[in-house]
């Protein structure tokens, strides 16, 4: 709303100001200059990574914007040797299973917090959110020794256990979404004799699909980026997730691996960046849609 007003104001400005003041002109060109400098600060490192990924020689001692014999050798090598594909596979299996379990756990309790009355409803969620301000990796010594006791080190099951704890923040996001679903929809179903499970699965879940997707995607990106817990659980290279494997690759022998590493970094980052952008858009539109409906 405020944004709309601002745009209107901006249009008003530009309509009447085919010749705006000299001060404004200087401000505009200064802004442009500074922004372009920052655009370069953002783009140069990214370009370097791209340049290294198409540079077959693996030599970067002298600076170049474009390698002398650009080729896709590094990309081909990633697929022919190296364990990158295996790490991607491990990470996808883990991320998808944890994502599905998280969505399931979140949806069930968000439904209870939004649509039911029970002792603890008022302060329960707030208490949980405050508790979860403490990141769980702070308990790393406890996790590690417990996993070691139950022989779960270096297993996917152990990692899933560590990452599956319900997230109060996700419950809160989804609860808000459920809250905005008109009561009339549910009341009609109650009159028809529908029980809570029916209302949950047939009315609320379908309406909340965008938010469920957001929670799934955010969990997915979280698992892809996690190093600390995966680094704690996994020990053999064939079990590694992307983060653990790629850390080993870059902190090992830099000179040999940088070209291949850049190719892998680009191929990992681009899909994740797109998922992230999608999630952001979903979350913004999802919240607005909820407000309008409410």
């Amino acid at each position: 709303m405020a944004k709309g007003m601002l745009q209107k104001r901006a249009k008003g400005f530009s309509a009447k100001s085919s010749g705006f003041s000299a001060g404004e002109r200087i401000a505009l060109w200064t802004a442009r200059f500074v922004l372009i400098v920052f655009v370069f600060v953002v783009l140069i490192p990214l370009w370097f990574v791209f340049e290294a990924s198409v540079n077959p020689l693996n030599s970067y001692v002298s600076f170049s914007l474009w390698p002398a014999h650009a080729s896709l050798v590094n990309y081909i090598q990633v697929f022919q040797q190296g364990q990158w594909l295996l790490w991607v596979k491990n990470t996808v299996i883990l991320a998808v299973s944890i994502g599905i379990l998280q969505v399931f756990i979140t949806a069930l309790s968000a439904f209870a917090f939004s649509k039911m009355r029970f002792w603890g409803r008022k302060y329960g969620l707030m208490t949980l959110i405050i508790l979860q301000m403490f990141p769980n990796f702070l308990a790393i010594a406890a996790y590690y020794s417990a996993l070691a006791k139950f022989n779960l080190i270096d297993t996917m099951g152990g990692y899933i256990l560590v990452m599956i704890g319900g997230s109060a923040f996700n419950i809160w996001l989804l609860k808000n979404y459920f809250d905005a679903v008109p009561k009339e929809l549910e009341e009609a179903a109650i009159i028809d004799g529908a029980n809570s499970w029916y209302r949950f699965t047939r009315i609320l879940l379908p309406l909340a699909t965008p938010m469920l997707i957001v929670i799934f995607l955010f969990t997915l990106v979280g698992i892809f980026s996690d190093y600390i817990m995966a680094g704690m659980v996994f020990e053999t290279p064939s079990q590694y997730t992307l983060a653990v494997g790629m850390y080993g690759l870059i902190s090992g022998q830099f000179g040999q691996n940088w070209g291949m590493f850049s190719a892998e970094a680009l191929m990992s980052a681009i899909p994740l960046a797109l998922i992230f952008g999608l999630g952001q858009r979903f979350i913004a539109s999802g919240l607005v849609a909820g407000a309008v409906k409410g």
């Binding site: 530009s14 600076f63 399931f104 756990i105 009355r117 790393i140 010594a141 830099f254 000179g255």
Partner: protein, 322 residues
């Protein structure tokens, strides 16, 4: 966006479930998966950490550990104990790192947001899209890539500096430059979030306030100082404090970039750029000192708790959670 959420919540609360209806026992059934996982996988490990912190549970006493009271805390905090060389400098650096990273990211983000908010800047959306990229790239990949770019001998950043006549910078071997690079890279990765938040806040300022100020004869600077900055500050403060707390514990932002190095001469446990979170990680996995790792974690718990409490106390975040 948080303003949106708050509004949504307020609207939602007005129409929450009918008053006076009875407790629905089935609610507990729906909540049980979340409550059980939070209790077993979230709260129990924290309690276990507190327990370990008061014992001598480590590689030497894996099966027969004893209760040792405050010994672990005392050895970390007492300046006469050699282990304080692990804790005290690491704590100071964690604080400096979190403050500078959050501060620079915030002010650069705010500065760029103000520039982007210029109504005459028609191509602003292009700059904005490009400037958001570091936020969209997963932090893990950002840090690992920068580790390669900043390599002392082969890194492309040093090659670039060489072309413009600057000698090689020892990003990875000098304590000062390693710390400098940690802050630099984390600001690079962190400013787009701040920029987005500030831009949202700028656009949420009602234009009537500016019009009223213009009628009162306020000049450009007065409007900026007394309207823009004040309004932005009140909207963004609830996000700056959690961002500080995030950086304070940003294990990946340090460990994936420098591995905590370069090494310190006075102790084998932590390096020059290690923050408390990565110190706890190394204590656990590299040295099997679960007792000391847990004691460091407990101290971190307390610090994060105080920061969060301050945040809620002064900004009223989560007031509306019901």
């Amino acid at each position: 966006m948080s303003a949106n959420m708050a509004n949504l919540n307020r609207i939602a609360n007005n129409k929450s479930v009918k008053k006076g209806s009875k407790t629905q026992k089935i609610a507990y059934l729906y909540m049980s998966p979340a409550l059980i996982t939070i209790a077993v996988l979230g709260i129990a490990p924290i309690l276990y950490t507190i327990f370990i912190a008061f014992t001598d549970y480590n590689q030497m006493h894996f099966l027969n550990y004893h209760f040792v009271g405050l010994k672990n805390f005392i050895s970390l905090l007492n300046p006469n104990n050699p282990l304080s060389a692990v804790f005290i400098p690491t704590f100071v650096w964690t604080l400096v790192y979190a403050l500078l990273t959050t501060g620079f990211a915030y002010f650069i983000g705010l500065f760029l947001a103000v520039l982007l908010n210029n109504p005459h800047l028609r191509e602003g959306i292009i700059y904005r899209t490009i400037l958001i990229i570091p936020w969209a790239v997963p932090g893990m990949i950002t840090m690992l890539v920068w580790q390669g770019l900043l390599n002392d001998s082969y890194g492309q950043i040093n090659a670039l500096l060489h072309t413009v006549g600057i000698p090689k910078i020892p990003w990875q071997s000098s304590p000062f430059w390693a710390r400098f690079s940690v802050i630099m890279v984390n600001v690079w990765a962190g400013f787009p979030y701040m920029m987005t938040v500030c831009l949202g806040a700028l656009q949420a300022i009602p234009s009537e306030i500016y019009e009223a100020a213009a009628i009162d004869g306020a000049n450009w600077w007065q409007k900026f100082r007394w309207i823009t900055i004040r309004e932005i500050w009140s909207i963004t403060l609830p996000l700056v404090i959690p961002s500080f707390a995030f950086n304070f514990n940003n294990f990946g932002g340090v460990y994936l970039l420098t591995g905590g190095g370069p090494a310190r001469s006075d102790n084998p446990f932590v390096g020059q750029t290690d923050i408390l979170a990565s110190a706890a990680y190394k204590m656990t996995l590299d040295f099997n000192r679960y007792d000391l790792a847990s004691a460091i974690s407990i101290i971190l718990f307390v610090i994060v708790g105080v920061i969060s409490w301050l945040n809620m106390r002064y900004t009223g975040a989560f007031k509306e959670v019901e």
